[in-house]
């Protein structure tokens, strides 16, 4: 790799009038700006989805509470789930993939910059369409209402007989539109990674983040397409007299479940694999060692990608499949635990013998490891289908998947924010606020989601807006609600940190973490078109080679 690539400063951009600046953001096809737009739109929806979660938690604070009506409660959990999965988790991960993948493989942009912009705006407008349902949802029936049939919209509840008006149509169309956006981005990520790698960046030298996003994008193609197909079928049912899911006319409710979960389960891995990617970049840098077992990590990721396509019906253990089907999905689901376990062991192996620096990104990463371990083990419990006949549809499941999504995905995302924010803005996030954010969120998280397992074991079903006193659920639910507010407070600290550090943070410089991948070789924020000279790499850690010419990685690979 030529050394001049790391010294060329970012091109100086003169201050523009704000209208021009806005115009630039709205019309941009630059992968870095689009990445940031994805992330900002996700943060916006995170706030909205968070408020919905708090409304749910206030209502469940004690038995027979009357904070909101059942109709409003049902809308809240439907919108909370839909928002968090489709308009927070996916966009924010796409944002990071968009921003980082080209930089890490030494490319100047994504393969299809305009498709990139088109995909982002589709996703974002899909989110706005979903929220427009609050104004236009019920069509002629009333003053508007959001969808209330759950983010899974099980047939026949989503049929017109049970969901009149247009609220379910907003849900269907929003998911269809943003689904096309996701498919566009997935194609773009795959094409970029396969075709735009810089000289020397062989496929077995790509950073693990790039590898894992490649697998993620492939899974998006396989998972989102059946969802889009199912949405189209639902629209045909609702408006063109179809009977795919219309049980009154001989349609099949179970067919919808299969469609939904053959999307829904790979979707979990679509969300968690990019988080594995963050871990695989951040843990080595803060342990000052290369990732332990790079080829095994790649193999385990690809293995998860394939096996996770055959586990979907573990969401359906209670629908009355025969004993062979239940046994099959028990086996495949438990089998996914093996490659996932390998990853956890490899991250611990990376820390083993290292010199761990407890900067905020590393704190969140350690939190991730701990919580993801528990989330995986409760997953194994529910993979044992008889155990699941009790736990499924109860608060235990809610606690389990929030352990994955908050304890795993969100912790990994916070780590990624603290790690790459300096690259994106040129300024460091405050470590003080960061540690405050970490501890507050950790306490809130465990208060909420550790406790939430217990009412499930005590027989509390999910999706209920109220419950009977005297079942031993009241105190537990109150603690869960208190934890939720502590988490909300921590999120406010995080947002404050993002804003304050943007103006007052310490200058980051090119390479604040003494890291090893290509994005740290250029200015922060990186200049338009990234690399003045296309770099050439000789190993998996090009910057290590540069910093340690006496002992480069390229000697060992």
């Amino acid at each position: 790799m030529s050394s001049n690539a790391i010294t060329i400063p970012g091109a100086q951009i003169e201050a523009r009038p704000w209208v021009d600046e806005l115009h630039l953001w709205l019309t941009t096809v630059d992968h870095k700006r689009l990445g940031i737009l994805y992330i900002l739109s996700a943060l916006l929806f995170l706030l909205i989805g968070g408020v919905e979660a708090l409304i749910i938690r206030i209502q469940l604070m004690h038995s027979h509470n009357n904070f909101v009506s059942p109709e409003v409660f049902n809308r809240m959990f439907t919108m909370h789930g839909t928002t968090m999965i489709f308009f927070v988790a996916m966009p924010v991960l796409f944002g990071f993939a968009n921003y980082l993948a080209p930089l890490m493989i030494g490319a100047r942009d994504m393969a299809f910059p305009r498709l990139n912009a088109f995909s982002f705006w589709l996703s974002f407008l899909g989110g706005l369409l979903l929220y427009f349902s609050f104004l236009g949802g019920s069509g002629l029936y009333g003053a508007g209402s959001a969808p209330d049939v759950g983010w899974w919209s099980y047939a026949p509840l989503g049929a017109r007989a049970f969901s009149p008006g247009h609220s379910s149509d907003y849900w269907t169309l929003a998911l269809l539109v943003s689904g096309f956006g996701s498919i566009g981005t997935a194609i773009n990520i795959i094409a970029t990674i396969l075709c735009l790698r810089c000289p020397g960046m062989k496929i077995n030298r790509m950073p693990l983040l790039v590898w894992m996003n490649l697998v993620m994008a492939g899974m998006v193609l396989l998972a989102i397409t059946p969802l889009s197909a199912a949405q189209i079928m639902l629209l045909i049912d609702r408006y063109l007299g179809g009977h795919f899911f219309d049980t009154q006319a001989g349609g099949s409710a179970v067919l919808w479940m299969h469609f939904f979960w053959i999307f829904g389960h790979p979707e979990v891995y679509v969300l968690i694999i990019p988080c594995f990617a963050f871990m695989s970049e951040i843990i080595p840098v803060f342990s000052r060692k290369p990732i332990f077992g790079y080829p095994v990590m790649v193999a385990a990721t690809v293995c998860i990608g394939f096996v996770s396509m055959s586990v979907w019906a573990h969401h359906m253990f209670t629908i009355g499949m025969n004993s062979y089907a239940n046994s099959f999905f028990t086996l495949t689901t438990m089998a996914v635990g093996v490659p996932t376990g390998i990853k956890i062991f490899n991250w611990i192996g990376t820390m083993w013998g290292g010199r761990i620096q407890f900067k905020t990104p590393m704190l969140f990463s350690i939190g991730f490891l701990f919580q993801f371990l528990i989330a995986g083990l409760t997953g194994i419990m529910m993979a044992a289908s008889p155990f699941d006949w009790q736990l499924s549809l109860s608060y235990f499941v809610v606690a389990h998947f929030h352990y994955v999504i908050v304890g795993g995905i969100l912790f990994a995302l916070f780590a990624a924010f603290y790690y790459w924010y300096p690259k994106m803005t040129g300024r460091m996030l405050s470590e003080r606020l960061g540690k405050c954010h970490f501890w507050l969120f950790l306490i809130g998280f465990h208060l909420t989601f550790d406790v939430m397992h217990i009412p499930g074991v005590l027989g509390m079903p999910r999706r209920i807006y109220t419950y009977e006193p005297g079942r031993g659920w009241d105190t537990l639910n109150l603690i869960v609600t208190i934890g939720a507010f502590i988490q909300a407070l921590a999120i406010l600290v995080f947002l404050a940190n993002l804003v304050i550090s943007y103006f007052k943070g310490a200058q980051a410089g090119n390479d604040p973490w003494d890291a090893w991948t290509l994005e740290w070789s250029i200015g922060s924020p990186p200049p338009v078109y990234n690399f003045a000279t296309v770099p050439t790499v000789a190993s998996r850690r090009p910057l290590w080679d540069l910093k340690h010419p006496e002992d480069p990685d390229s000697h060992y690979e």
Binding site: G293, H446, L458
Partner: protein, 347 residues
Amino acid sequence: MKSSLCYSWRIALLIFWSARLLWAVEPGGSTAQNTSIFSPASTPAKSIADLSVFVLVVTGIIFLAVFALLLYSVVRFRGRAMDGGREPAQVYGSMQIELAWTIIPTLIVVVLFLATARVIHAIQDAPEPAGALDVIAIGHQFWWEFRYPKLGIVTANELHIPVSVSAHPTPTFLQLLSVDTDHSFWVPQLAGKTDLIPNHPNRMWMDPQRTGVFLGQCAQYCGTQHAKMLLRVSVDGPEDFASWVHAQQKLAVEDAAAIAGRRVFERNACMNCHVVAGTRADGRFGPDLTHLMSRATIAAGAAENTHKNLRLWIQDPSVIKPGSLMPAMKLSDADLDAVVSYMETLR
């Protein structure tokens, strides 16, 4: 050291919540309010609870082992000031170690799978013995209909089944149907849950080992009032069950004193949705009211079956259960009192 503080705090939390779990289970130990999955009262629930304990122990051991490894590496390999910025030895991996932590988890998975498959087979493929009771459970928004085809009984929301002792096993086999959306039958102490899905008949069974009332509720989101679709299973001794069956098989009691209320009932839309056996009321949309007063609750368990609640319910069901499909009949006070009196004769 911040990180060790963090972990000791987490361990403390874990111990606290395990203790809390036990405490939460204890008070309800013998009362009808208990709905814990770890206090089983029938064979399927018992074998699930046994399997669950086994899985909990295995996953618990895995947790302790990996957690100890994580904790050790975080504490032992923390960066120290005396490192002086030197990089540690760069280790890239080890095939032996990778093989070890691939093979051991695979073996654990095989063991867990075999233990699970045994229980799946034992519960799902159990043959129906000759002495079994057949019940058809039908899910409605937002109540339960129970039909006993061999006994000619139709009732709602409160399922009566006989206790099953090992000398004379009388398990109950439920056929699960739905007339509208998906529901799920869940009484944690008696069996795991099974969904009621339109066009997709399901089956489940239970053989309660002791008498008592067991609570549960609909577990699959079925619409606005999913939360108040509660479920009571009364497990009766052989004589009690026989006398309950005998009483339920009769037609409705004719009580001349309540004739005014019966007229109101038959003049209004009530009779379009409800059955009162032996009268002209033969609607199928709502619960069978022939023996309404034999039930402890109304509105699928949402309220106790008292005079006050009955009156409130008939006056405006949405006060007790907003979103209920029963309309408010807007009866005059006199008509309301009459119809409530009539209801109270339906023993």
